[in-house]
């Protein structure tokens, strides 16, 4: 059995990789539109992060078993989107049922938004990338957890810039979505520099 410290180190190293090196928003643009939507309100940043992190972590753990059995088959890759949607779907329905049963008020409050936190590129993208970067179940869990935290980091950086980017100082045609995209581009460039990106000339 693996030493607990080794397991912890694996989870942390893959989580760090998915937060900084492979950030869902800044490096892959997974769920960029959801992050822009979420960043408008503080409570959405926390709520969506919780939903996405819970889903990416749990779905990553479940997807490990399918990646090891179905993916190596000759035509296994054709069925991976269906399998991942199946995993996300089961967790989504189970989560909705538990909320409806035990936290009815919360269920009523979030039922209009919950599908946005679950069916987006950040969640399913984490599962696809896990098959490339994860080696064992702990690294899968670490990568899935890190994707959720990376989403939080991106949404938080957008949230704190939101008021300034929506101000009168920004030309009218750039206000809102266009300036947000340019801002994400600039932060993405900073992340690229942080991890040592160099353009090939």
């Amino acid at each position: 059995m693996e030493h607990i410290g080794e397991v912890f180190a694996k989870i942390i190293s893959l989580a760090m990789m998915s937060i900084f090196m492979q950030n869902a928003i800044f490096d892959r643009a997974f769920g960029a539109n959801v992050a822009i939507y979420v960043s408008r309100r503080d409570e959405h940043v926390v709520g969506f992060t919780l939903g996405i992190t819970a889903m990416t972590t749990a779905a990553s753990a479940a997807s490990y078993f399918f990646d090891k059995t179905v993916l190596p088959m000759k035509y296994g890759y054709l069925f991976m989107p269906l399998i991942y949607i199946g995993i996300i779907g089961v967790l989504y329905v189970a989560g909705l049922f538990l909320l409806w049963k035990f936290f009815h008020a919360t269920f009523k409050k979030i039922k209009k938004f919950v599908h946005l936190a679950i069916f987006n590129c950040a969640v399913i993208g984490a599962l696809f990338l896990n098959s490339s970067y994860g080696s064992d179940i702990w690294s899968y869990i670490g990568y899935g957890f890190g994707t959720g935290i990376g989403f939080f980091l991106a949404s938080f950086l957008l949230n704190i810039a939101h008021d300034r980017l929506d101000s009168e100082k920004i030309p009218k045609v750039f206000r809102g979505y266009p300036i947000m995209m340019i801002y994400i581009g600039v932060v993405s460039l900073a992340f690229n520099v942080l991890v040592g990106y160099t353009a090939k000339f």
Partner: protein, 211 residues
């Protein structure tokens, strides 16, 4: 006899362009549309996975709860991935792995999961089919614009034909994709706003002529 005539609404091309105006399904364009060929692969995949899924999912009864319908839509798109990837592999055997990843992500695209409920499924079937096709056309415009610019800047080529030496290799990176989409989004808004203003001015002139 039922009146089957309807007027096609071209909003999906520019005024409500799904990428530049609504900010949806942006990830494949930002990261994978680095060349005209990649853009073509994305548009073909988007057509097969979104448009055909929209036409199929229309038959799901509305009495199924919204939360469950969304899941069924994603399952249909995941099933559509199988013929889509077979077609793209056949037509473009040398396409990059990154493009495949973004085709896989189209299973949860917002045209299928969000626009169906707020727009397409509120219309009769024929009108919906045309409207959704116009939206796919809007997506194609966005993908090709971004793909052309990035291929010319990053590789100095267009559809693989050499034009000049690469001037900006970093144009193929995601950060450039974000910035370029942001600039195109602002341009699109400016054009739409200008058209709306000139239409209003023409309407006022016409009203004054009548008076």
């Amino acid at each position: 006899m039922k009146n089957s005539r309807f007027s096609a609404n071209p909003d999906g091309l520019f005024k409500q362009n799904i990428v530049f105006m609504s900010g949806l399904v942006t990830a494949p364009i930002i990261v994978a549309a680095t060349s005209a060929e990649n853009a073509l692969i994305l548009v073909l995949s988007f057509f097969m996975m979104s448009y055909i899924s929209i036409l199929i999912c229309r038959f799901f009864p509305r009495r199924i709860a919204y939360s469950i319908r969304i899941l069924l839509y994603a399952i249909v798109a995941a099933l559509m991935f199988i013929p889509t990837i077979m077609v793209t592999d056949k037509l473009f055997p040398a396409h990059e792995a990154d493009v495949t990843l973004y085709i896989e992500l189209l299973t949860v695209n917002s045209l299928l999961l969000a626009k169906t409920e707020t727009r397409f499924y509120l219309k009769p079937y024929g009108e919906m089919a045309v409207d959704a096709l116009i939206y796919v056309g809007g997506y194609a415009i966005a993908a090709f614009l971004v793909g052309f610019v990035r291929e010319v800047l990053a590789f100095g080529t267009l559809f693989g034909l050499r034009l000049f030496d690469p001037v900006m290799p970093s144009a193929q990176s995601p950060f450039f994709g974000f910035i370029l989409v942001g600039i195109f989004a602002a341009l699109c808004r400016a054009v739409v706003k200008r058209n709306a203003a000139s239409k209003t001015a023409r309407f006022v002139d016409h009203s004054e002529d009548i008076q």
